[in-house]
């Protein structure tokens, strides 16, 4: 692969490193970025734009943008392609022309680092509020939000229709420095109404930031005509926590706690992804027993997440009174109890450690788990039967929110929604970790790609997960659960990218070490970020009632988007 790129673009590859047969690190000439990417996409099947990370190399007076490219099943190579640009007036060519879903990743890098993307269609703030743009908070020389006067600067304005709005005017110093006036602004609701509404029968309706459909605060503005959605606008960032930046200021071990908080339904897999990346930096592998315990927990976590996701989705269709939700919660309680018996916590486990796990399995765990799993399997089959035989449910869900395989790949979604669109793309197969290669499981797919298929995939994955756990319980060897580690975890300078299959899809952690006790940069590539981005095109032309069904069938988790 490397030689192919080098021969096609002589002199453009500045640095390269082949880490394994699945990771290729290259640094390319910023001028040739788009051409090389196009070559990789068209000639080498890199049809999946997995994400992008900005890195502030302040010591070398450079910014780095890392594009993560991979393929939907044609091969298993992940290319980490870096471009380096100088710190003053940083600018990189945008990849939005090649990959539709590069949009949000580039916007995030722009608002956090101030790296401009040439040719980006809508470079305005995504996660940050308007008044924070221009501070570039993720740069290494950022000294904290210096301005505590926003409350005083807020100006109360009464609009023509009698409603009060608060506007925060930019800081005078920043206007003087010329940072603020150039910045593009996120359109306000009124501006959007004026721009989009064409006839009297149309209106823009808010769904969110506080709304029954949303799993966390995000805003969905629907341009509707009658009951039809003509266009959808999405705004996230209401609860942005800056976890990636916080982790730069914590030691490696302290960082594990933050990975829990990104999405409490997937805390084990988030732990796993972070610890896996640091293990690669430390160059250790956990002992086999620890690997089995991790797999057991990851699959338990997947089951409980799918149960809650499906249950919540069902309540969206038929009010909170639709009963299966309650039964799924009761079933989930058993699994949470099992996980609690191992980790001591119900949702935020902080259990996986570098080179092992915190605790061993409790005595008699297998005897306790087997009946629960057996009942879980029966119940899941019952749910599948129930949903399949409900005529109103099938009428509502069939053919709704259809993602064709091509669209699903183009929009960059992963996990159950992608597999429901006939694409067997599963990190446990594509980028096998731990003992997954030794285990027998099948990647569940569906042809239809509609909301019904997505729910079916989730329910069937529960069965597969139960199968995996049962194999693990049979095969798990005796032995140590923790590799020997130094007292202070200080990985050699370097970088690692590690992917796991989250309950929702592809979860990747990109960790850079500079040899100190704290990571230099942690980048999270979360699956829900991609779902959210894919939501507006999916909603166009749907009924208002289907918006709920489609958004629910994606099983999104805002907390992870606003990490």
């Amino acid at each position: 692969m490397l030689s192919a790129i080098q021969s096609a673009f002589p002199g453009s590859v500045l640095e390269s490193r082949v880490e394994s047969d699945r990771r290729l690190w290259i640094t390319v000439d910023p001028k040739k970025l788009v051409e090389i990417t196009q070559f990789l996409r068209d000639k080498k099947d890199f049809d999946h734009y997995s994400g992008a990370a900005g890195v502030d190399r302040i010591n070398e007076n450079l910014f780095e943008v890392v594009e993560i490219l991979t393929s939907h099943g044609a091969h298993q190579v992940v290319v980490m392609m870096k471009v380096r640009v100088p710190r003053d007036k940083p600018s990189v060519r945008s990849l939005t022309g090649l990959y539709w879903n590069a949009n949000w990743y580039e916007r995030e890098i722009w608002e956090m680092y101030g790296i401009n993307f040439e040719g980006h269609p809508e470079l305005y703030p995504l996660l940050l509020p308007d008044e924070l743009v221009g501070y570039w908070p993720w740069r290494k020389d950022f000294k904290g939000y210096p301005d505590t006067t926003t409350g005083e600067r807020a100006i109360e304005q009464v609009g023509p229709d009698g409603y009060t709005e608060f506007k925060i005017m930019p800081h005078p110093e920043m206007i003087k420095a010329g940072v603020v006036p150039e910045r593009p602004k996120y359109p306000t609701f009124r501006e959007r109404e004026e721009a989009e509404i064409k006839s009297d029968s149309e209106m823009i309706m808010h769904m969110g930031p506080q709304h029954a459909i949303v799993p966390g605060p995000f805003l969905l503005d629907l341009l509707i005509e009658g009951e039809r959605v003509k266009k959808a606008f999405l705004d996230v960032g209401y609860i942005h926590k800056g976890i990636e930046k916080i982790m730069e200021n914590r030691t490696y071990l302290q960082g594990i706690v933050y990975t829990d908080r990104m999405c409490y339904l997937a805390s084990i897999t988030n732990n796993e992804a972070y610890c896996g990346a640091v293990e690669r930096l430390l160059n250790i592998t956990p002992p086999e027993r620890a690997q089995y315990i991790r797999v057991i927990l990851a699959e338990l976590s997947r089951i409980q997440s799918h149960l809650l996701g499906t249950g919540e989705f069902l309540t969206l269709l038929g009010a909170a009174t639709y009963s299966p939700f309650q039964y799924m919660i009761i079933d989930r309680e058993d699994l949470v109890y099992l996980m609690e018996s191992i980790t001591g916590a119900r949702i935020t486990h902080t259990f996986v450690r570098f080179g092992g796990v915190r605790n061993d399995l409790p005595d008699g765990f297998a005897d306790k788990a087997r009946p629960i799993l057996k009942r879980m399997r029966e119940r899941t089959e019952e749910y599948m039967d129930l949903l399949h035989s409900d005529p109103i449910y099938t009428r509502r869900m069939r053919g709704i929110g259809v993602l064709s395989p091509g669209d699903a790949r183009r929009l960059g979604v992963s996990g159950p929604p992608l597999r429901a669109s006939d694409t067997p793309y599963d990190m446990r197969r594509e980028d096998p970790i731990l003992v997954y290669p030794d285990l027998d499981f099948k990647v569940v797919t569906r042809k239809a790609g509609d909301a019904e298929a997505r729910v079916e995939v989730r329910l069937e994955e529960i069965l597969e997960s139960i199968h995996i756990i049962e194999q693990c319980l049979d095969q798990i060897p005796e032995g140590p659960i923790q590799e020997k580690l130094p007292k202070k975890i200080k990985p050699e300078p370097g970088e690692a990218y590690y992917r796991v299959e989250d309950p929702r899809g592809e979860m990747g952690f990109y960790v850079i070490s500079d040899g100190s006790e704290k990571p230099y940069r942690v980048k999270v590539r979360g699956p829900v970020y991609a779902y959210m981005q894919a939501l507006p095109p999916l909603l166009e032309g749907a009924y208002v009632a289907d918006v709920v069904a489609i958004a629910g069938s994606m099983d999104a988790c805002t907390s992870e988007v606003d990490r």
């Binding site: 029954a212 459909i213 009174t321 509502r396 289907d546």
Partner: protein, 350 residues
């Protein structure tokens, strides 16, 4: 029996002073009816909370008023009465204020013509009805559809997009289902040779649910739709449009809108029992002969209510276009088929 003597004396007096009799009966009846339907609806709310709780494997109200939560509704009412009464800026104030009142008046109008059971005295059933008019079935139908106006008033005056969508949906749904519902009532009237609800009940030697099963099914579905309950609660689908036409209402105004839904549910169940399930007809029960029609009547109403709650606990919601689709393309033709069947049977066999 002394009861029949009283009745005879009263009827004699009524013949002498018809106007005073009518006024007295009206006032006493209104008082009794308001009490009965309000207490009845409270019982329905309690029943729904408890039974829905059972369906969903939870307890339901179990703190206020013994472990059955009997006083929960009283507590809720106190809360609603003492809440701040706010009217949103930009609302059409008179319409906004009158919408819940009209909704409550509608239910009272319906209740006036509906028999709430009967007493069996000397082998004869005396129906408990305030306004025993000749066209009561027709009148009840007509009064029920005034609800549509109240819903639209509430939705339109709130100056809120969710309310507006909810009102549109409510109107579309109610229009689509009032028609088949009315046709079903006509079919029943054809068989009973009367539009009077009391006579309809008395003519049911065979329940009309068996005489015209198609009509029974269509009427039941149309009734659930008219009541705006799952799977037909699009006008207040919480997950899509917050609370539909009631979004901007709060405090006791919302309480009225909420409560009239349950009064409607009770009245609807009674209507179904009267039209299709033989009303209060049933064999006499020894010892409580006088009350035996009442027992049968309440038992049937209770079964219908539980059925309605059960439906709510186990179905998902239709989409609004599917609802109108079902209404115009299936319910209306089926009700017409049923009408033809009723006419045929009613003319040649009844």
């Amino acid at each position: 029996m002394y009861l029949s003597t009283i009745i005879e004396a009263v009827s004699a007096w009524a013949a002498q002073e018809p106007k005073i009799y009518a006024l007295a009966i009206g006032l006493i009846g209104a008082a009794i009816i308001s009490a009965v339907i309000n207490i009845g609806a409270m019982a329905v709310v309690w029943l729904e909370r408890k039974f829905l709780g059972d369906i969903q494997a939870r307890f339901g109200p179990n703190r206020v008023g013994s472990r059955w939560g009997l006083l929960q509704l009283g507590a809720d009412a106190i809360k609603l009465f003492t809440k701040e009464d706010s009217i949103p800026r930009g609302a059409d104030k008179p319409v906004y204020v009158w919408a819940p009142i009209i909704a409550s008046i509608t239910t009272m109008l319906v209740a006036a013509a509906i028999p709430f059971g009967a007493l069996r005295i000397d082998g004869k059933d005396y129906p408990l009805v305030v306004a025993n008019m000749d066209i009561s079935a027709f009148y009840v139908e007509a009064a029920l559809s005034i609800m549509t106006i109240a819903v639209f008033m509430a939705g339109f005056s709130s100056n809120n997009k969710y309310s507006m969508l909810g009102a549109f949906r409510g109107i579309a749904r109610m229009i689509a289902y009032e028609v088949p519902m009315g046709v079903c009532v006509i079919a029943v009237a054809l068989m009973a040779h009367s539009l009077n609800l009391v006579e309809i009940v008395e003519s049911q030697t065979l329940w009309y649910a068996f005489a015209q099963p198609l009509g029974f099914i269509v009427f039941t579905i149309a009734l659930v739709t008219d009541l705006g309950r799952i799977p037909f609660d699009q006008s207040e689908a919480e997950e899509e449009i917050i609370a539909g036409y009631t979004t901007e209402y709060g405090g006791i105004r919302w309480g009225l809108l909420y409560f009239q839904e349950y009064i409607n549910m009770l009245l609807g169940s009674i209507l179904l029992v009267l039209l299709f399930l033989g009303g209060w007809k049933g064999p006499s029960i020894p010892l409580i002969t006088v009350l035996s029609p009442m027992v049968w009547f309440l038992m049937k109403v209770l079964i219908v209510l539980i059925f309605l709650i059960w439906v709510r606990g186990s179905l998902v919601r239709f989409r609004i276009d599917q609802v109108t689709d079902l209404g115009w393309k299936w319910m209306l033709p089926l009700s017409l088929v049923n009408l033809a069947w009723a006419a045929f049977v009613g003319l040649y066999f009844a």
